[in-house]
């Protein structure tokens, strides 16, 4: 088994995983499984280690693959578990209860209250902004 092809596969996997995640962010099954790119970094790291331990021939591509995949695994794990984590909050929302009414301006600045939508099922979405 030659080291270089393994190292190339490791590098391709490590780079392709986050690129694919970002490109397919609008596909719910992709977006909702961010752990998949972390797993891909771990596989890429394992391939780089395999290339170093078992591979023949040039070693420097395997060292590069090892460095890249190790950095991405550490960064990806940190991002997924620390940066992207949303803390539990003491919400007043309870299934089976009516949440407090509110009035907010719409896009044209007209006041709109939640209560005025009674009579229709409502999907109420709180989101951060553009994403």
């Amino acid at each position: 088994m030659r080291a270089t092809p393994l190292a190339v596969v490791s590098l391709l996997l490590a780079v392709a995983a986050p690129v694919a995640y970002i490109l397919l962010i609008r596909v719910p099954i992709v977006r909702n499984h961010p752990g998949a790119y972390v797993a891909a970094f771990a596989v890429a790291l394992a391939l780089a280690v395999l290339a170093l331990v078992r591979g023949r021939g040039r070693r420097w591509p395997a060292w590069i693959a090892l460095g890249v995949s190790a950095l991405l695994l550490a960064g990806g794990t940190w991002f997924n578990l620390v940066v992207a984590r949303v803390p539990m909050t003491p919400t007043v929302l309870r299934v089976g209860e009516r949440p407090p009414d509110f009035t907010l301006p719409d896009a044209e600045g007209r006041p709109v209250s939640l209560a005025q939508f009674r009579g229709k099922p409502v999907v109420l979405v709180f989101y951060r902004g553009y994403w």
């Binding site: 962010i25 609008r26 719910p28 099954i29 977006r31 909702n32 961010p34 997924n80 992207a84 984590r85 949303v86 803390p87 539990m88 909050t89 003491p90 919400t91 007043v92 929302l93 309870r94 299934v95 089976g96 209860e97 009516r98 949440p99 407090p100 509110f102 907010l104 301006p105 719409d106 896009a107 709109v112 939640l114 209560a115 939508f117 009674r118 009579g119 229709k120 099922p121 409502v122 999907v123 109420l124 979405v125 709180f126 989101y127 951060r128 902004g129 553009y130 994403w131």
Partner: protein, 112 residues
Amino acid sequence: MAELQGLGAELSEAEKAGVQVVAVSPDPNERSHTMAKGLHLGYRFLADRDLAVCRRYGLIHPRGGPNGEDVPRPATVVLDREGIVRWMSLSTNFQVRPDPGDVLRAVRALGA
């Protein structure tokens, strides 16, 4: 708005007419409005500029924004015709949003 993608496509015209989407965000309205056009749903955008409603609802991710500012904790709530919460999903990871299929099922369960 990722949680709503696919919802517009999957609901029939009659169902779309029977469901009201109310989107609350501190984001300046224009961008949200542009985004809503593609959803083809009964849609009202409401601007919670100072997060007063998010705070009252207990939906704040403290210092969760890119510049350390407070941001809403993403949440999707399905209310029935009487305004009672029938289904909800609160985010624990900002990359993860409810599956549009789950929102759709919750809406259909109300006979929308």
